[in-house]
């Protein structure tokens, strides 16, 4: 028994094993409480699709050696700006969504490039600097959202006519456009979103096997050795950061179409943390990540969040306990990952 436990932990890492056990316990309680397990699983799948691309955005950044991308909020903001531009231009439906994705890419590339210049100068402290860079950009953009010259009355405050609203509804725009792209009779699952996620994963998988991708992984896993063998480490770190930001921008658009709203202002502030926790639960570390980590992580983390909400609220109607579980789990796994990275010295 003890042997099996040790084997499991060695193979999958503590976070994955613990979260899986927690999830199984919650599911058993849910069955005892006579909750609709089908409903819970369906809700989980929706949330998994919603967050999938955002979690995927962590892969290029980790693989290229810049660590967990705590400044993913910068990419998220690029995606949100692109989304607002398409609404301003009144493009709706799938066309609107795809236009938003297309507009977000150059923005994210630009932001990612600028950010990578900084990252290449702060090697070893990317995570600390990144966290606060993300925070500052989000708070600077709070002023931006107030001042940007958007005019569409559906987006700006009704009174005064200036400044974007905190939440912008996507109903009649591209609400659930991916989720409902493919509908099967009697099955209401976000198949389109999963398909989109699969395509993104495939591209990243392909990229990591290209010449550039392999060089990037080499640069990330052992920068000194890579530098010595003639690989321009800084260049690949830049590519990794840009790719991460682009996926962040696309990720928030996928998130928003499923959620039904754009959340501006401080909305993106803590979003990177959720993505980070998810990929860490999936078995990634600050130095190593793969597509399978993304898939496992987003499934485990989002199902945990979705299932814990009704189950814990049934047990403890007072207070916001499922939120507490989210805070403890998500920051707990980040802390665990930090202790595994080990010191610089």
């Amino acid at each position: 028994m003890k042997n099996l436990w040790q084997k499991l932990v060695d193979k999958y890492g503590y976070p994955k094993v613990f979260i899986t056990i927690l999830l199984i316990i919650l599911l058993i309680i849910a069955i005892i409480q006579k909750q609709s397990v089908y409903g819970l699983l369906k809700d989980s799948l929706v949330r998994i699709g919603m967050n999938s691309v955002l979690v995927l955005a962590m892969v290029p950044s980790i693989v290229s050696g810049t660590g967990l991308n705590f400044a993913l909020s910068i990419g998220i903001i690029c995606g949100l700006i692109a989304g607002c531009i398409t609404i301003e231009m009144n493009i709706v439906g799938l066309k609107g969504f795809l236009t938003a994705v297309l507009i977000s890419i150059p923005l994210s590339v630009m932001a990612g490039y600028l950010y990578s210049i900084l990252l290449n100068k702060v090697k070893g402290d990317e995570m600390t600097v990144g966290t606060y860079m993300g925070f500052s950009v989000v708070s600077l953009m709070c002023i931006g959202w107030l001042l940007l010259p958007f005019r569409n009355p559906e987006m700006v405050w009704a009174i005064g006519g200036r400044g974007l609203r905190t939440t912008i509804t996507l109903a009649n725009k591209y609400d659930k456009v991916l989720d409902r792209l493919i509908t099967l009779p009697n099955v209401d699952l976000p198949i389109g979103t999963f398909l989109f996620f699969a395509v993104c994963c495939f591209f990243i998988w392909l990229f990591l096997r290209s010449k550039t991708g392999i060089a990037m992984m080499a640069a990330g896993s052992n920068p000194r050795f890579a530098q010595a063998s003639g690989i321009n480490v800084d260049k690949y770190r830049t590519i990794g950061t840009i790719l991460s930001m682009v996926l962040g921008g696309i990720g928030i658009l996928v998130y928003a179409q499923s959620y039904g709203f754009f959340q501006l202002y401080t909305g993106p502030l803590m979003m990177p943390f959720a993505a980070i926790s998810a990929i860490l639960i999936g078995g990634a570390t600050a130095r190593k990540a793969s597509i399978s980590n993304v898939i496992a992580g987003v499934i485990l983390f989002q199902s945990l969040l979705t299932i814990s909400l009704p189950v814990i609220n049934r047990m403890m109607p007072e207070g916001n306990l499922s939120e507490v579980v989210r805070i403890i789990v998500s920051n707990g796994v980040i802390l665990y990952a930090l202790t595994r990275v080990g010191g610089n010295e």
């Binding site: 402290d125 606060y132 403890i328």
Partner: protein, 363 residues
């Protein structure tokens, strides 16, 4: 000759105090744009110094010990709030209640500080991101304890602070029983400015304590560890233990700082009073010219004055300049995050630069 010399020192002085000077200019602009009366601003500054300076000062020792800016101040603040909740339950007010709260917070702060230290010793070189995330994590545990355990495991019944269901503390707890207990103990009025002398005496004592401890043996150890852990280790200093002591002292001071802060505010927001403590204190000391590796008492004082001046004037300045007070508020949160980001980035760039030079000279 003499004139040239003084010019040189002046330039040097300006260069080494870039950040505070820049913020001084911004604050001056803000004060003018806000059109607030001078007396009002001075009164507010004194009030906010009284509230925040103790917390800001508690950052100094970990910086000296090379652990960077202690974002886990939040955890100390929680210990302080535990003390306040205890005196509220026992209904002991006034200055006696205040000191009792401080006393009760001590064991909690020591345990929390020690635990923080153990974790930070495992993540050397990544203390700041760890302490930040640890702060978030601790907020989760804190909520768990006060939402779920109160009324079930911890027998607190007082309906004034417990939620109607009997489990969990209310969002806001009235602390009027100790409000201004310290501030009004001895307070004088100089040309319309109310000065809480007793609080400032306490803050002054902390300054003396900080100065004193840095001169003792353990203070020397802090410095040695802060400069170079390896050298310190070789010189026979127990590095891990020294770091533990530094962070524990900081946590304890943060607990007391939070108690002083809340006796001035008068209401405990059970689940959010501590949230921003670390960030605001760190931003303040950085505005005062501190860095990740260097922080002094004067950095703390100047920084608190400048940072909070910005806080006082920015809503009005935003309203007068852009017609929207929100812009001023967003601007000040941008300043808080921005100054931290800038300072961390500058420190990391410098570190990389030094490492490159060392690597080149080694070749």
């Amino acid at each position: 000759m003499k004139a040239m010399f003084s010019k040189k020192t002046l330039i040097k002085l300006i260069r080494s105090n870039m950040v505070p000077l820049l913020f001084f200019v911004i604050c001056l602009g803000g004060v003018v744009a806000s059109k607030l009366s001078f007396l009002y601003i001075v009164n507010e500054i004194v009030n906010r110094l009284d509230r925040n300076l103790f917390l800001v000062l508690s950052l100094i020792i970990p910086v000296v010990a090379g652990m960077g800016l202690n974002f886990a101040l939040v955890i100390g603040a929680m210990a302080g709030q535990i003390g306040l909740i205890a005196i509220k339950v026992w209904n002991i007010g006034g200055i006696l209640g205040l000191f009792l709260a401080m006393l009760i917070s001590v064991p909690f702060a020591l345990v929390f500080g020690y635990a923080t230290g153990i974790l930070l010793n495992k993540t050397k070189g990544k203390e700041m991101i760890t302490s930040l995330i640890l702060g978030f994590f601790a907020m989760g545990l804190y909520q768990l304890v006060f939402l779920l355990f109160v009324g079930t495991i911890i027998p607190i019944k007082n309906p004034e602070i417990v939620l109607p269901g009997g489990i969990g503390l209310k969002n806001a707890i009235d602390l009027s029983l100790i409000q201004y207990a310290l501030d009004n103990l001895l307070s004088i009025n100089i040309v319309g400015v109310r000065i809480p002398v007793a609080s400032f005496i306490l803050i002054g004592l902390l300054c003396l304590f900080t100065k004193f401890i840095l001169k003792t043996k353990i203070g020397q150890d802090f410095r040695a560890v802060g400069q170079d852990m390896h050298v310190a280790e070789v010189a026979g200093i127990d590095v891990d233990r020294t770091r533990l002591v530094a962070i524990t002292i900081s946590t304890l001071l943060a607990a007391w700082g939070q108690i002083i802060f809340l006796q001035n505010i008068g209401t405990l927001q059970t689940y959010s009073s501590h949230e921003q403590v670390g960030m605001f204190a760190v931003a303040a000391i950085l505005v005062g010219g501190a860095s990740v590796t260097k922080a002094t008492i004067s950095n703390a004082i100047i920084g608190t004055i400048l940072f909070h001046t910005l806080f006082i004037v920015s809503p009005n300045a935003g309203k007068n300049l852009f017609g929207d007070p929100q812009i001023g508020e967003f601007f000040r949160s941008f300043v808080a995050y921005g100054v931290i980001a800038l300072s961390l980035a500058l420190h990391a760039i410098q570190k990389n630069f030094d490492a490159n030079i060392r690597a080149e000279s080694a070749e």
